[in-house]
């Protein structure tokens, strides 16, 4: 187990298996709100389901409607358990806050390369990420 310091964007504490990408995510367009799957064939996570995962990605991009997509996912029980960014931007930050999903940022880049399925606990309120190794 190792612990990394991070910065809280949206409060809360949750854990789950890591799902990492080095590509930014546009929740509007990249992710299907009905299934929680990444549906953009050009995305590194194409075909992956983000439901219940600790989704680790550099940050969001695209339309601000992406915030609502995160909320829709949460309402359907398809949202990530928690999210980790290098640098959060407004779309993902707002989506996480209105959905009550813990979101942290300002982590070292190596976090983007965690092996998929690694168990990760995100405690936004304490500003820590615990990684099981």
């Amino acid at each position: 187990m190792r612990e990394i310091r991070c910065h809280k964007v949206a409060s809360g504490c949750a854990s789950g298996p890591a799902l990492c990408t080095r590509e930014a995510i546009s929740f509007l367009g990249n992710v299907d709100p009905e299934t929680g799957k990444v549906v953009d064939p050009s995305h590194e996570l194409y075909g992956e389901c983000i439901c219940g995962k600790v989704l680790i990605f550099p940050g969001g991009k695209g339309s601000t409607v992406g915030s609502y997509v995160i909320y829709r996912l949460q309402k359907r029980g398809l949202a990530p358990a928690a999210m980790v960014n290098l640098r959060s931007e407004a779309i993902v930050a707002v989506g996480a806050i209105i959905s009550g999903i813990p979101l942290v940022d300002r982590v070292p880049e190596e976090v983007l390369q965690l092996e998929r399925g690694t168990w990760v606990k995100v405690d936004a309120d304490q500003g820590t990420i615990a990684i099981s190794e």
């Binding site: 915030s67 407004a90 707002v94």
Partner: protein, 391 residues
Amino acid sequence: MYLSQEEERTLSGECGKTSRRMMEILVALGDIYGAERLIPVRSVQIAGVSFKNIGDAGLEWIRDLNGQVVVPSILNPAGMDLCRWQEMGISEEFASKQLQTVEAYRRLGITIDCTCTPYQIYDELARPGDHLAWSESSAVSYANSVIGARTNREGGPSALAAALIGKTPAYGYHLDECRRPTHLIKVDADLAGSDYGALGFVAGRIVKDGVPLFRLRSRPLRDELKALGAAMAASGSVALYYVEGVTFSPPLPLESEETLSLGREEIEEVYEHHPGSGAEIVALGCPHCSVQELERVADLLEEKKVTKELWICTARKTAEARPDLVRKIEASGARVLCDTCMVVSPASERFSKMLVNSGKALSYLPGLCGVKAGFSSTKDCIRAATEEGPA
């Protein structure tokens, strides 16, 4: 970020769950963008109105909120004319959800004007130097560039947070250092009408999220500035621009010596690359038509009958101000649609190709509606809508 005692109390939940969440949004954004404090806003314009965009979850979120806005707040265009949706071919199911969405906003104390041109119907929402929290990209560009107010481009939730708290984090276009021009664009051509939309379409792709300073040969009118800004906000994400001798001057001089020269050729290419042939519908009013634009359309349609669907989109208050013009336009068989536009309404999706006079609609129709777009001047759009045979 510095918070006052009152702001801290709101953040701790003393003023209820909705206020807490809203303050969390403002603080998180302030943190992300390096704001030092919150500042009061004069007015708010809220995105996330068309049910096509927000869906059931967005509606549920708005319904879950409890509170009242504390500054004048109005809405972005909805997915349909709130009264004449049946004529647009909107399903009852969609209409019901759209009306519920509007109702959910009304319950929060928001004025039900659904428009991308709030400045055309209310003078008091934005004055020079005012801080605002507006959402719609063309309205943001107009407020910053033409009115000389200061606003970032807010998402739906951050605008709603600003409306309920009455404040916004002071970063980005609220600050002088972010209002400095980044590119000088010289245009050596005489431009008029839709040429400004074409110029914006080209310039937005070049400057992306920069702040262009234009040196123009011709002197744009307000509606032409509206078209220029709208197009740049769609083909790029320009939220502020300057036109030498026309708009306010920049607070700080040009950042770089990056100079671009555009001429008639670049403008003509926009028309040539987007011919109107094959369009089954013509739609004007992106952004929403002003009274002057309605007058021009009414004149062009005089003693003509449309041979294709022709939509003229405007704000309800603008249409209500000039029922004579609406009657004149509709005598041709065209429809004056309020509260909505071709970009945010699902009614556009049943067409395969639409002819527009707007650089903004030209940018958005293919991606957001799956509709091909042709681009022409207002006059040629009206001609295409009234001539026999295919466009």
